[in-house]
């Protein structure tokens, strides 16, 4: 059983590497004028068009309400890949050498880091949706009189003016989640066996 758990830990440590191949997240914008919706894939090291020129066209839409252009690169594109590589190496070391309890510690570490990542993503989204050019062409206010923001949802679907925005994790995020689950299941398996003994 310990062997099985170790294999799970190995797999768990390696799975997040798929983030270098598959996107983490996708934001899709639907509107009547876009029979093919605009879409942006978020990778740990890049923003990419869902269809050719989508980001350029999202920027063009957004400049009307004073949103900034989606940057070519953000610091996270360096930090996130490094984080993944470090935690993978750590995970592999744990799988190779460490006591099963470390599976749980790695799992907790990954939970913390992923939450931090998501929070960072939320902050960026919030800034992107609220830090508007004071010379914005169109200014909208909420019913309470405050300036309307255009923050896309962190997770789920939301109507923003004429657009319906969807924000959902993609294969990369699922790989990360599965890897984390592997480590946790590995931990549970050993713990269960230990209890029986």
């Amino acid at each position: 059983m310990k062997k099985k758990a170790r294999i799970l830990m190995f797999a768990g440590a390696l799975l997040p590497l798929l983030l270098f191949v598959f996107p983490l997240w996708k934001i899709t914008l639907e509107a009547p004028q876009y029979p093919t919706p605009l879409g942006m894939f978020i990778y740990i090291n890049d923003f990419a068009d869902a269809n050719p020129h989508d980001i350029k066209n999202i920027n063009l839409m957004n400049h009307y309400v004073g949103m900034k252009y989606i940057p070519e690169a953000i610091p996270e594109f360096k930090i996130f890949p490094a984080g993944i590589i470090i935690t993978t190496i750590l995970g592999l070391l744990i799988a190779w050498k460490a006591n099963y309890k470390w599976y749980l510690y790695w799992f907790i570490l990954m939970i913390l880091l992923s939450s931090a990542g998501l929070y960072d993503f939320y902050l960026w989204e919030h800034d992107y949706g609220h830090d508007l050019d004071p010379k914005a062409i169109m200014k909208f206010t909420n019913p309470d009189g405050s300036v309307m923001g255009f923050q896309p949802p962190l997770f789920g679907t939301k109507d923003i003016l004429n657009f319906t925005a969807h924000s959902y994790p993609q294969l990369g995020a699922f790989s990360l989640g599965l890897g984390m689950a592997c480590s946790f299941v590995g931990y549970l398996l050993v713990r269960k066996e230990n209890k029986k003994q």
Partner: protein, 652 residues
């Protein structure tokens, strides 16, 4: 008395009943009409099943319709200037209308034909002829734009054109009016024996579609009216109808209608290729324009070509045979198997159908019935497959449905007649409103017709639509031909006079239809593909403005330092890379059209300011919510001003 009353009442009731029945009959045609409405109804947002490319006749253009709805999508400018799209107005497309006679801003476009592979429509290109100043144009169906025009030398009235062979080896163009070849100063009444016709074979590059006038066949001085290619067994042959075998030159309506039979000229173009390869051609000096639009430079170039290879049909045996065909045949149509060649003798009530197999037999057994200028004439009886008898008055054109039926238009009796190929019996007839010319079944002149609809294109409309003064709309009519009987479904107006048309299933084209031009591939000499390269340059009194446009501004939008007497080139690049976001631009007082620029494209117009002042320009296509703000100013100073050029965007 009472009895009499009773009889009267009974009679009245009977009359009412009769009338009632009659009216019911009319009502039931109303019910039919409503089912016809369902058949042509394409719900909002849905697509039509077929594209129909309908020639614009004297408009010089080619219009694109959907079938069965009859909705007009686009008028593709071909031979005529089109201010809406700047065709022939902007610097990029002016060379497309260049000819050996200089810039010709108009033509008469007649017969579109879609490129074929193995005798089936492949949807790559449409070819169409300019009748007046002989030209052949190629429209690229990935962009629905005219991308090549080649002028035809030694030709006049380029009417038996532009028909493609089974693998688009050639687009064929025959001359309707015979002329002195080469052109020279001579008395008109010495026409007979001196004037000649020419049949031109324009090769089409299988890779890039590039056209080249490969060779011409010199023919007797008849009028070469229409043509269609052989297919299947008859692949390698081209058939041309002729009239005026009398070789008259005046009061033609009488003098060219004297012979009981004219000819269908069967041209063996495979043989012609052999003669070319054997070097049996003459190279004639010529002067004709070859105009090519490059999709990457968004610019056309015009090249004058100086010679043409010519084969003389009178001297080269086996090249051409003449099939006697009654009554000045107009349309010359070949059925899907390639066995039957229909001669639509326009002064007749019968249709003559020739057999290709019998023609080959007669040629092989050398059963000739005389000759014309050294070209063998076959005997009428030897090549006749059958006659569709008393089918109507004035047959003009025939198409086929792929189920063994022919459909022929009759101009004088104003109807479409359906008949069976092989038994030559008439199956059905339906009236046209009025005086139908060509008809079109999608793929109806290929190996694989899509026999669901026939479009009849009429010459006269009279009272069919709301009147619009003396000049009323041109019109086409759509019939359902999926059943035994034809059913009239729809009238729809057309642009210019529709001559021939070409139809094709939408699926063969729509997926390949380009959405934008890639900015990265824009190789226009004056392109400005990023805002960093925006600038204004002066060279003497020539000023070049390298301008960009994107929602919702021009860059630059303030320009100073222009002077009266300058020649100002606006080279404007649309930086958009989104589907259906064109921008337009026009300058007050510019002596030219607007530009309508597709995403990723660069176009140029010239403005020669004549008055001092500050003059605005603006976007002419409602592009965005801020379209009305998409505008700019040019300051024009006196000719002797020493104000330096300056330009800006968003500066106070």
């Amino acid at each position: 008395m009472n009895k009499f009353r009773l009889v009267m009442i009974a009679t009245l009731v009977a009359t009412f009943l009769f009338v009632g029945c009659n009216q019911q009959g009319k009502d039931s045609s109303g019910a039919l009409a409503s089912s016809a409405a369902e058949k042509v109804y394409v719900a909002p947002g849905e697509h039509d099943d077929f594209y129909a490319f309908i020639s614009g006749g004297f408009s010089g253009q080619l219009s694109v319709y959907g079938l069965p709805s009859g909705r007009l999508f686009k008028v593709i400018p071909v031979f005529s200037q089109d201010a809406e799209k700047a065709w022939g107005y902007n610097e990029e497309t002016k060379p497309m209308l260049n000819t050996s006679h200089g810039f010709v801003p108009w033509d008469d476009s007649h017969h579109p034909d879609i490129s074929q592979t193995n005798g089936e429509l492949d949807g790559r290109f449409v070819f169409i002829n300019g009748n007046n100043t002989p030209r052949i144009a190629k429209i690229d169906l990935s962009v629905f734009e005219t991308t090549e025009i080649i002028e035809i030398p030694n030709s006049a009235g380029n009417h038996s054109s532009a028909f493609v062979t089974e693998n688009t080896e050639y687009v064929v163009a025959g001359t309707r009016f015979s002329v002195p070849i080469p052109q020279r100063d001579m008395p008109i009444n010495e026409y007979k024996g001196n004037f000649q016709g020419s049949l031109s074979f324009i090769s089409v590059d299988p890779e890039d579609g590039g056209m080249d006038l490969s060779f011409q066949i010199l023919m007797p001085g008849f009028d070469y009216d229409l043509a269609h290619p052989g297919r299947g067994a008859s692949h390698g042959w081209m058939f041309f109808s002729t009239y005026n075998s009398e070789e008259s030159h005046s009061l033609m309506e009488v003098n060219a209608s004297q012979n009981d039979k004219d000819f269908i000229a069967a041209v063996n173009w495979k043989k012609a290729e052999e003669y070319i390869n054997e070097g049996k051609f003459k190279t004639m000096p010529a002067n004709y324009a070859h105009n090519v639009y490059d999709e990457e430079t968004h610019t056309a170039t015009s090249t004058m070509k100086k010679e043409v290879r010519v084969l003389d049909a009178s001297e080269l045996p086996g090249l051409v045979y003449l099939l006697p065909t009654p009554k000045s045949p107009h349309g010359c149509d070949v059925n899907p198997t390639g066995e039957y060649i229909v001669g639509n003798g326009k002064l007749s009530s019968d249709l003559t159908v020739h057999s290709f197999a019998k023609m080959i037999d007669a040629i092989e057994s050398e059963k000739f019935d005389g000759e014309a200028y050294g070209i063998p004439i076959l005997s009428f009886e030897d090549v006749l497959a059958g006659t569709v008898k008393q089918a109507g008055l004035g047959p003009l054109h025939t198409e086929f449905d792929g189920q063994g039926n022919g459909y022929t238009t009759f101009f004088i009796s104003s109807e479409v007649v359906k008949w069976k190929v092989g038994t030559w019996e008439v199956v059905d007839r339906q009236p046209c409103y009025y005086s139908v010319g060509h008809l079109m079944i999608p793929g109806g002149n290929s190996r694989k017709p899509y026999g669901k609809y026939v479009v009849a294109m009429n010459k006269i409309t009279k009272d069919r639509y709301l009147p619009t003064g003396p000049e009323v709309t041109q019109s086409a009519q759509l019939y359902d031909i999926s059943g035994e009987k034809m059913e009239l479904l729809l009238d729809f107006p057309t642009v210019g006079e529709p001559h021939y048309a070409a139809g094709i299933p939408a699926d063969l084209i729509k997926e390949r239809s380009k959405k934008i031009y890639s900015l990265e591939e824009n190789k226009h000499k004056y392109a400005t593909t990023s805002d960093a390269n925006v600038r204004v340059e002066r060279n003497g009194n020539e000023v070049h403005i390298y301008m960009t446009m994107i929602r919702s501004h021009f860059n630059p939008d303030n320009i100073e330092g222009i002077k009266v007497g300058d020649k100002v080139y606006f080279h404007v690049t649309n930086l958009e890379q989104d589907y259906d976001v064109p921008h337009g631009v026009s300058m007050i007082g510019a002596n030219t059209s607007e530009l309508l620029i597709m995403p990723g494209q660069t176009e140029t117009f010239v403005w020669e300011p004549k008055q001092v002042g500050v003059w605005p320009f603006y976007c002419t296509d409602f592009c965005s919510a801020l379209h009305q703000e998409m505008q700019g100013y040019v300051r024009v100073s006196p000719a002797n001003s020493d104000l330096e050029l300056s330009w800006s965007l968003g500066e106070d």
